[in-house]
Subunit: 302 residues, 2 copies
């Protein structure tokens, strides 16, 4: 399948993973018990390739070492020190998108692509293990097409979001469209996929962007806006965390209902989300609407 | 076994783990192939408990989420948000001892114990996810006994070492005894274990410290001082990386040969080390000398 665009889901869970280290919510309880109705999931990350030999990571999750081990396409080949990972593209500066960079040390050359503000976070403290003589930092600009020489191109765009938690100030603004929360269009020949791992609102701009995409991978963090509050897990709504719920009038299920999209996939799924349980009514509902619920190892070939 | 001191090896590999993400040295090649003569290993970390209910982590490796999943004693119990992990003790500021802290987020209270210089590293950039309102930072002093209320006490002490790689200056000094590289004595009633995950030289002071310990877990990074150079993996000797080789006149095997120690265990093992291969002559040699080669999940009960 030469020339096919391959998008491989390395991790399909939101920050914390599934199960989350300190959580015994009903979903996590099933996962700790090894219940066959739920699959454990590592934290959000994708690998993209047009030739199967060289891969770009979209975000570097804290689970990256485990994800490389689980995906043979990312194992070293040929030389004593080698990696098929040509670069890492960061969609924002969340700790769960950055931490995996600490795994990519050991004197290996690759390129980090991110907005200037996110790149700044990759220079602090322990991230200094990424030798600047080998690891190139390339700033990206919104709406500018990036050709990394890998047979496909990326175009980042702003979506409604917020700054990373650890950079929040007292007057944090949700839903702003800045370079702190971005989606990416991936183009390979005539094929086009859109990946939006975090998005506070499916605005009309977002709808226009995904129209006629061959695939959409979208923020599936929570099913309802207040589910973490109702479950006693957090005092924050999905919106306050910079995410758009699946359900509800303004939810992604309703907003994308009439969009023309080839394949639609929910990923970045929080442990509280009932779509994680394979026989749940919520899972049935999103599947009936044509969505796939991503799991680790899912590959989309276009 | 009430009151028994339990030391559980969560990860037994040095930084990078085994196999290492970008390595095809002969050992890693076996590991990627799933050869039964080698066991994959995650990065260096221990869990310590006197009651089986509350655990102290000794270092937080990048693989911590995977390690918690693999060790049921660390799974949450009882409440919706809970953890048996009461604290994390950092023996130095290496990226592979700190990165796991990024996993311990999600509004959970626990305590980080480390020297003032290492604690400073846990306040930078993405490490800000550890809410200072919940995560207590407690500075430790060399030679001062720390009772965390867990039924055992710790006493940190300096060993010959060096500063973390990302803090190295041009005139890095190896073998200094400062608070940047420490070992710990663990005391529980009449039992005493000594853990030294990194140590550039088995000095006479180190020998005196371990004498009559019920268990010693010691730096097993490399077998020979120059093995990474000979294998074309690095231009550094073990000494230059702040580690004492197992073999050789000044090696740990010879230096500890006459020490009176109950149980002796090599851990923090680099992927280049031939003791990782179960039928290797080097493995046979250390075992004949009374050493156990640690693997993930090994538990020492005293």
């Amino acid at each position: 399948m030469a020339g096919a665009l391959r998008i491989r889901v390395l991790g399909s869970a939101a920050g914390g993973g599934f199960p989350q280290w300190n959580c015994l919510c009903p979903n996590c309880r099933l996962a700790w018990q090894g219940d066959p109705r739920v699959r454990p999931r590592t934290q959000s990350s994708l690998a993209i390739s047009a030739d199967g030999d060289r891969w770009l990571l979209l975000n570097a999750s804290p689970d990256l070492r485990q994800q490389i081990f689980a995906n043979s396409c990312l194992h070293p080949r040929g030389a004593t020190r080698q990696t098929p990972i040509a670069g890492v593209f960061l969609t924002n500066g969340d700790a769960d998108h950055l931490a995996g960079l600490l795994t990519l040390r050991e004197q290996q050359a690759f390129t980090i692509y991110a907005s200037a503000s996110v790149l700044e976070q990759t220079r602090h403290g322990a991230f200094g293990v990424l030798n600047p003589g080998l690891v190139q930092r390339t700033p990206i600009a919104l709406e500018a097409r990036i050709d990394m020489g890998l047979g496909f191109s990326l175009r980042p765009f702003a979506v409604p979001g917020k700054v990373p938690l650890y950079l929040e100030s007292d007057d944090v603004r949700i839903g702003e469209e800045t370079d702190t929360t971005i989606g990416v269009e991936i183009e390979c020949g005539t094929r086009r996929a859109v990946v939006i791992p975090g998005c506070a609102d499916v605005s009309d701009d977002v709808l226009r962007r995904v129209e006629r995409a061959d695939a959409l991978l979208f923020d599936g963090t929570t099913f309802t806006d207040d589910e973490m509050i109702r479950m006693g897990l957090s005092q924050k709504t999905a919106w306050r965390m910079g995410h758009c719920a699946i359900d509800g009038e303004r939810g992604s299920l309703a907003r994308f209902a009439d969009a023309k999209i080839g394949r639609r996939v929910y990923t970045h799924i929080n442990n509280s989300n009932p779509i994680l349980v394979e026989d749940s009514p919520e899972r049935a509902r999103v599947e009936a609407a044509g969505w796939t619920v991503a799991h680790d190892g899912l590959e989309i070939a276009l």
